[in-house]
């Protein structure tokens, strides 16, 4: 694991893993979509709209997963000051923001026919919106500071402060009386969902997770290359200045 903290070794590993991971994403999402549309039966209460859950729930899980990755990487930036930790955090933010956006939009599109409204200011929905805003804030912070070290440290502090929102999202349905239903998959008494609906949900969740990892690795590779290009361009400028002197 420690050897992977070397950017060059990390890039070598990424080059080897990406083709296999891409194939896994295609297989999992293809199977998941087939199960979602052609195998899963309609729910006795939700009817056909249960199919929205097969993308809404994995997107919501990955929205929280993405922020957890950023928070762990923020610790790496602040404690060990390792540049790869900052790269991991920076590149996870746009992916996490996209999955949060997907979770919010698909939730709204499910809410209209089921609840009669696109949006309510209940604890779960509001805390997810706060998560989306946190992601946007982190992206803006990284974009607004030129010096990579300073930007990384500032973003790491914001990420760790914002990490308090993750348990709030998870337990909001237990702590407050919300319109959003309580946990029905990961709960102490086991899932309350029928296996016919649970299987496509898990396959889609695995596909979405593989997609997240794939995009994150690709984005990390691009970010490492961007930093190398930046360093080389600085060298070029220094050389030009030396030649003139």
């Amino acid at each position: 694991m420690i050897s992977l903290a070397n950017p060059t070794r990390f890039l070598g590993l990424v080059d080897k893993v990406l083709p296999w991971l891409s194939a896994l994403v295609v297989i999992l999402l293809g199977t998941g979509l087939y199960l979602s549309f052609f195998v899963a039966p309609p729910d006795y209460q939700q009817g056909e709209t249960v199919r929205i859950m097969f993308i809404h729930v994995p997107a919501a899980w990955l929205a929280m997963f993405g922020y957890t990755v950023i928070a762990i990487a923020a610790l790496g930036t602040l404690i060990w000051r390792h540049p790869l930790a900052d790269v991991a955090a920076k590149t996870a933010a746009p992916i996490g923001a996209t999955f949060t956006f997907v979770a919010l939009v698909t939730g709204s599109l499910w809410g209209k026919p089921m609840w009669g409204t696109y949006w309510v200011w209940d604890a779960r929905l509001t805390s997810m919106l706060v998560l989306f805003l946190l992601y946007l804030g982190l992206i803006a912070l990284w974009q607004s500071i030129d010096e990579l070290g300073r930007a990384g440290r500032a973003a790491a502090i914001l990420a760790l402060v914002g990490a308090i929102n993750i348990p709030i999202i998870k337990f909001s349905v237990d702590w407050w009386n919300t319109l959003h239903q309580p946990a029905s998959v990961f709960r102490t008494g086991g899932p309350t969902i029928d296996p016919a609906l649970l299987t496509p949900l898990f396959v889609m969740a695995a596909g979405f997770t593989a997609l997240f990892v794939l995009l994150h690795l690709m984005a990390m590779r691009a970010e490492i290359l961007r930093r190398r290009v930046r360093a080389l361009q600085q060298t070029q400028v220094e050389r030009a200045a030396l030649a003139e002197a």
Binding site: P7, T8, F37, F38, P42, G47, E48, T49, R51, I52, I55, H56, A59, H82, P83, L84, P94, I95, T98, F101, V102, V105, T106, L109, W110, K112, P113, L148, G149, L211, L215, M218, A219, R221, A222, I224, L225, R226, R227, R228, V229, R230, A231, L232, Q233, Q234, T235, Q236, E238, R239, L242, A243
Partner: protein, 125 residues
């Protein structure tokens, strides 16, 4: 055709938004990756490369006469410019003559030897 019932538009809209969002993410990530690779290749073609990068075959045969300039990029890796090209681009008037450098080195060696030599005290009379 799959019958999605009276709420088909909501279901299709949800899948459509997800597909577009994921497609945008994939395309931008791929495009960024390619752009950075192209920029890096372009810089390396001009002789500006990282220390750990494999130098081109022509540069391998040239013995560097100057200390390569090194900078520590934010990525945490040490990089260096191509020493052969750095020497070649320096104007002749700015280069140090070889003989002068050799004399300086000899003088430095003499000073170092003097410093290393054990000090002897003069006996008191």
């Amino acid at each position: 055709m799959l019958d999605l019932g009276p709420h088909a538009s909501f279901i299709l809209a949800a899948y459509g938004v997800t597909a577009i969002a994921v497609a945008v993410l994939v395309v931008t990530t791929l495009a960024d990756d390619r752009t950075q690779r192209r920029k890096l290749a372009d810089l390396e073609r001009r002789g500006i490369r990282r220390r750990s990068a494999t130098p081109p075959k022509a540069a391998k045969t040239v013995t560097p006469k100057t200390t390569p300039s090194m900078t520590a990029p934010p990525g945490g890796e040490t990089i260096e410019t191509d020493p052969a090209e750095a020497t070649a681009k320096k104007p002749a008037s700015k280069r140090k003559p070889a003989a002068k450098t050799a004399t300086k080195t000899a003088a430095k060696r003499k000073t170092a030897a003097k410093a290393k030599a054990p000090r002897t005290r003069k006996p008191r009379s």
